[in-house]
């Protein structure tokens, strides 16, 4: 059911991304200080914002999972965090390339976005190991949700505290996303933000479709093969989606989302 609007979404994302690229490189003027290097700004900062929102959404989905005990929320949280981790790598890579370009160093402790991102990635890197370390799927989902909520709250707080500490040392406002960007910069910046957000959402739905499809497949396999293959399910960090398969349900698989 996630596949429906995927194609339309992918097309709009593609259009938005290309438009942003074109405007960023041919329409927006060079920055007074940074010159051409400033073009990375349109990629790095929106990517950081989208990734942060992805982690926070993972926390919100986890809250819904604990409240409703519906495994679909657990899957949404898992996919959101998984995707934000991938985007987070992008943030760190583009950030360090940018740092190398402007200050000649691959890593710079006074750049708050980079520093808080490293910390957030270190924390979320334990999400998958935590899930894998718990065998009982139901408990795995619940513990993962508790982690996602705590880490989701940590993301904004950590961002503020690190910014507080770096600004305290030697304030460097480069990459500050404050609104005092002159006209054209602002237009391209927000366009870039929207297109990367669209990219995140498209990939998120894409992965949700794929996970949902494999859950349907496993349900079908159980129906067809009956109980012969009741070998213990292989251990995995991926959430188990309880999926109902219509027809032939005599004592069959559980309903969609564990009923209360």
């Amino acid at each position: 059911m996630y596949g429906k609007r995927l194609r339309a979404l992918a097309l709009t994302t593609f259009a938005a991304l290309t438009l942003t690229l074109v405007l960023a490189f041919f329409w927006a003027p060079n920055d007074a200080n940074q010159g051409f290097l400033q073009k990375i700004f349109y990629l790095h900062v929106p990517l950081a914002i989208v990734t942060l929102c992805g982690f926070v959404y993972g926390g919100v989905a986890a809250i819904m999972h604990l409240r409703t005990r519906d495994s679909r929320w657990d899957m949404r949280s898992y996919v959101a965090i998984h995707l934000s981790l991938v985007f987070g790598v992008g943030v760190l890579v583009t950030g360090s390339i940018w740092a190398k370009g402007s200050w000649g160093v691959w890593w710079d402790w006074s750049e708050p976005t980079l520093v808080s991102f490293l910390l957030i990635m270190l924390l979320y890197a334990t999400y998958q190991p935590l899930r894998f370390a718990i065998e009982d799927p139901e408990r795995q989902a619940r513990y993962a949700s508790v982690f996602a909520i705590t880490a989701g709250a940590f993301v904004p707080i950590n961002f503020v505290i690190v910014r507080l500490s770096t600004a305290y040392l030697h304030p460097r406002v480069l990459g500050d996303i404050s609104a005092n960007l002159p006209g054209r910069f602002q237009v391209v910046f927000y366009l870039s933000l929207i297109s990367i957000a669209l990219l995140w959402i498209t990939l998120w739905r894409y992965e949700m479709t794929s996970k949902h499809a494999s859950a349907q497949l496993r349900a079908l396999r159980r129906l067809l093969a009956g109980d012969e293959d009741d070998a213990l399910p292989r251990r995995s960090a991926v959430p188990t989606l309880s999926v109902s398969v219509e027809g032939g349900r005599a004592g069959g698989t559980p309903g969609v989302g564990a009923s209360r």
Binding site: N33, V93, G101, A213
Partner: protein, 65 residues
């Protein structure tokens, strides 16, 4: 804004291109992994349709789970 050394255009180009290609490479790797998962689903579906066909051919009702 601390005045930074004026970075000449040509020197900045490699960094900008590096950043954008790194990002797109990351997305492509992600898509490749997802494509791999998709092909695995396809393969498993193939197996299941075979199983169902064999089951249908042998006329035996799939045993009720």
């Amino acid at each position: 804004m601390i005045a930074l050394l004026e970075i000449p255009l040509h020197q900045a180009v490699p960094y900008v291109t590096a950043a954008y290609t790194a990002f797109f490479a990351l997305i492509l790797i992600y898509l490749a992994i997802m494509a791999g998962k998709l092909s695995r689903i396809e393969r498993e579906l193939g197996e299941l349709t075979e199983l169902a066909a064999r089951r249908r051919a042998s006329g035996e009702e799939p045993d009720a789970p």
